[in-house]
C-alpha cells in the first residue's frame, strides 16, 4: 500500500514535467517573434525590445528554461506584464471567489447527482429513470453560459431572488456571500451533475445484478440499506474516478461562469490576461490549474482502497 502511494505520487512528476515544458515552449513554438506576440499589434519596436529584455527573451532558449524552472522551484511564478504585480499575488487576490464557486459546485453536484443516479438505476426503465437520462444528455449539451443566462433571467431578473451579477466576499457576511454564488454554482453544476449522475447510474446498474445484492434483499434488508450500503459502496470506484476527471470540466467552466456572472476570480484573471496578452499570467494559471487537476486525481486514485478493500496494491 505504502509502495503504491509512493509509486502513484512519483507518476505525477513526468505528467507535470510535460505540462511545464509544454507551457514554457508554447510561446516559442508559436510562429513569429514571442516578444512581438506579447507586445500586441500596436506596439512600437522599442516596446517590443523592452518586453524582450524584461522577459529575458534575448537569451538562448535553454538558459531561459533553466531560469524559469529555478524561479518556479522557489515559488516565483513571474511578474505580470500588464499590472507589474507578482503573479502569485494576483492569483492570491482572486482565489477566494473561484474556490468558493468550485467547492459549492462540487458539493451541489455530488449531493444531487449520486442519489439521482442510484435512484434511476434502482428504478431502471421507469419515467424517473428516463427523465434522469434526458437531464444528463441536456446537461452535457446546453453550454454553461447559456444555462447561466437562463438562470439569471428567471431567478435574478424576473423573480429577483438572487443578484444578477457580482460577488460578495465571505468577509461581508455569510448570507450575501451565499446569495451571490448560488446562481453561478447552479449553472456550473449542471454539466458536472449530468456527468456524475450518468456514471453513477451505469455503475450502480451493473452492481445491482450481483449475487450479493440478491442475498441482501433476500435476508430482508430494506431497499435504502441495500442501495446505499451494498450497491453504492461497490459502485463507488468509477464514480470517484469521474468526479476526479470532471474537475477538468469544472475548471474550464469556472472561466466561463465568472465571465457571465461578473465574478472577480481566477477565471476573470485568465480572460483579462488573454485580452492583454499577459503571458506570464497565462503560463502560471495553466500550471496552477493543471497542478490542481493532477493532485485531485491523485487523491481520487488513493481513495479507491477506502471503497473497495478488494483492490490491493
Amino acid at each position: 500500500m505504502y509502495a503504491y502511494v509512493m509509486r502513484r505520487i512519483v507518476a505525477t512528476i513526468p505528467v507535470m514535467a510535460v505540462v511545464g515544458i509544454f507551457v514554457f515552449l508554447l510561446l516559442h513554438l508559436t510562429p513569429g517573434d514571442p516578444a512581438a506576440i506579447i507586445a500586441g499589434d500596436y506596439a512600437s519596436p522599442a516596446d517590443i525590445e523592452k518586453i524582450r529584455a524584461r522577459l529575458g527573451l534575448d537569451q538562448p532558449v535553454h538558459v531561459q528554461f533553466a531560469r524559469w524552472v529555478s524561479h518556479l522551484a522557489q515559488g516565483d511564478l513571474g511578474v505580470s506584464i500588464f499590472s507589474n504585480l507578482p503573479v502569485s499575488k494576483l492569483i492570491g487576490q482572486r482565489l477566494e471567489p473561484t474556490l468558493a464557486l468550485c467547492v459549492l459546485t462540487t458539493i451541489l453536484s455530488i449531493v444531487i447527482a449520486v442519489p439521482l443516479g442510484v435512484f434511476a438505476a434502482w428504478r431502471a426503465g421507469t419515467l424517473v429513470d428516463r427523465a434522469t437520462m434526458v437531464f444528463a444528455v441536456l446537461g452535457f449539451s446546453v453550454p454553461i453560459f447559456v444555462i447561466g443566462y437562463i438562470l439569471m433571467y428567471v431567478f435574478a431578473i424576473e423573480l429577483r431572488w438572487f443578484p444578477a451579477q457580482g460577488y460578495k466576499p465571505i468577509g461581508d457576511g455569510f448570507f450575501p456571500f451565499l446569495r451571490s454564488i448560488v446562481l453561478p454554482s447552479l449553472a456550473l453544476a449542471t454539466l458536472y451533475t449530468a456527468l456524475i449522475a450518468r456514471i453513477s447510474r451505469a455503475s450502480v446498474l451493473e452492481v445491482l445484478t450481483e449475487d450479493y445484492i440478491r442475498t441482501a434483499q433476500a435476508k430482508g434488508l430494506s431497499s435504502p440499506v441495500v442501495l446505499m450500503r451494498h450497491a453504492l459502496k461497490n459502485a463507488a470506484v468509477p464514480i470517484v474516478t469521474i468526479i476526479g476527471i470532471g474537475i477538468a470540466l469544472l475548471i474550464g467552466g469556472v472561466v466561463v461562469t465568472e465571465s457571465v456572472f461578473n465574478i472577480p476570480g481566477l477565471g476573470r484573471l485568465t480572460v483579462d490576461a488573454i485580452l492583454h496578452r499577459d503571458y506570464p499570467v497565462i503560463q502560471a494559471i495553466i500550471l496552477v490549474f493543471s497542478g490542481v487537476y493532477v493532485f485531485i486525481n491523485l487523491i481520487a486514485d488513493l481513495t479507491y482502497t477506502l471503497f473497495d478493500p478488494r483492490i490491493r496494491y
Binding site: 510535460v18 509544454f22 446498474l205
Partner: protein
C-alpha cells in the same frame, strides 16, 4: 462491425432497401431524428444567402427592435417589432446573423472532428504498435490531458491571434490526446488477435498490417468519438468567441452574438437568447447522434452504458 454495416446496403431491389431503411429508422429513432435536424441546419447554413437578409447590414434607425416571433406569441413591447428574431444594438437582423452563425459552428465542429481524428488516428496507430514511440508519445499525451482543454484552447488562441483557422487548430490540439488514447487501446487489443499474428508470421510488412488489418477495426469507435469531439468543438468555439478570444468579432458567430448581447441582456434578452438556443440545439443533436451511433455500432457498450 464494418461487415455488418455493409450488409445493410447489400444487393437487393429498391423495395427491399426501403424496407431495410424503415427498419433501421424504427430501431434507431435518435440517429434518424438527430441526423435529420443536423441536415436541416446544414442546409440552412449552406443556403443562408437565399434564406436570410444580409447579416452585416447596419441600420441604426431600427436598433434593438424586439422580435416579431415573440410578439406573435403574445409578448407585448413598447416599440414595434422588426424581423423574426429582432435586431441588435447596430440594427442588424438577429435572424440573419443566427442563420449565418450556423456556418461557423458547423465548419469549426466538422473541421475539428476531422483534424483531431486524423492526427489522433495516425499517432494512436503508431503508438499502439511501436513500443519506443509509445513510451514517449503517451507521456506527452498524459501531460497534455492534464491541462484542462478549454484553458489550453484559450492560451493557444492568445498566442495565435483570432481567425477561424486558428480557432480550429486551437480546439483540435487538446482533443488529439483523447483520440490517440482510444485508437491506441483498440490497437493494443487487436494486435494480439490470431489473424494479426498470422499476418506477422507470414511476413506481412508493418504498414500493411497497420492499414489493412488494424485500421478498419478502429472505424466504429472513431466515428462515435468524432461526433463527441464535434459537439465539444461547437461549444468551445462559441465559448472562445464569447470570451473575446475566438472568431474575429466582425464575423457573425453564435459566440460573438452572445458576447455582444451580454451588455443588453437584462433589458433586451433576444440578442443573446436566439443564438444561445440554436447553439444548445445543435450540440444536443450532435450528442444524440453520437449516442445513437454508439448504440448502433457497438451493442455491447450500449448495454453497459444504458
Amino acid at each position: 462491425m464494418v461487415a455488418v454495416a455493409g450488409d445493410v446496403f447489400s444487393e437487393g431491389t429498391l423495395q427491399r432497401r426501403t424496407a431495410q431503411a424503415a427498419e433501421f429508422a424504427r430501431r434507431n429513432p435518435t440517429v434518424v431524428v438527430s441526423a435529420s435536424v443536423l441536415l436541416a441546419m446544414a442546409l440552412m447554413a449552406t443556403f443562408a444567402t437565399h434564406l436570410a437578409p444580409d447579416p452585416m447590414a447596419l441600420n441604426p434607425a431600427v436598433r434593438l427592435k424586439p422580435p416579431c416571433m415573440m410578439e406573435a406569441v403574445g409578448f407585448e413591447f413598447t416599440t414595434s417589432c422588426m424581423g423574426w428574431f429582432g435586431t441588435d444594438h447596430l440594427g442588424r437582423d438577429v435572424y440573419a446573423r443566427t442563420v449565418y452563425g450556423a456556418r461557423i459552428s458547423l465548419t469549426v465542429g466538422l473541421a475539428v472532428a476531422a483534424l483531431s481524428t486524423a492526427f489522433g488516428l495516425l499517432i494512436g496507430l503508431l503508438a499502439g504498435y511501436v513500443r519506443l514511440f509509445d513510451a514517449i508519445v503517451m507521456r506527452v499525451m498524459d501531460g497534455l490531458m492534464a491541462i484542462p482543454s478549454i484553458l489550453l484552447a484559450i492560451a493557444l488562441m492568445a498566442l495565435f491571434g483570432s481567425s477561424v483557422q486558428n480557432v480550429i487548430i486551437a480546439i483540435s490540439i487538446p482533443e488529439i490526446p483523447r483520440v490517440v488514447r482510444l485508437v491506441r487501446a483498440v490497437v493494443l487489443t487487436i494486435r494480439e488477435m490470431p489473424y494479426v499474428e498470422a499476418a506477422v508470421s507470414s511476413g506481412t510488412r508493418l504498414p500493411k498490417i497497420l492499414f489493412r488489418h488494424i485500421l478498419p477495426n478502429t472505424f466504429a469507435p472513431l466515428m462515435v468519438q468524432a461526433t463527441y469531439v464535434c459537439a465539444a468543438a461547437v461549444i468551445v468555439e462559441a465559448l472562445l468567441s464569447f470570451l473575446g478570444a475566438g472568431t474575429p468579432p466582425e464575423i457573425p458567430s453564435w459566440g460573438n452574438m452572445m458576447a455582444e448581447g451580454r451588455v443588453y441582456f437584462q433589458i433586451k434578452s433576444w440578442m443573446l437568447f436566439y443564438p444561445g438556443v440554436c447553439l444548445a440545439l445543435m450540440v444536443l443533436m450532435v450528442n444524440l447522434l453520437g449516442d445513437g451511433l454508439r448504440d448502433t455500432l457497438d451493442p455491447r457498450i450500449a448495454r453497459r452504458m444504458r
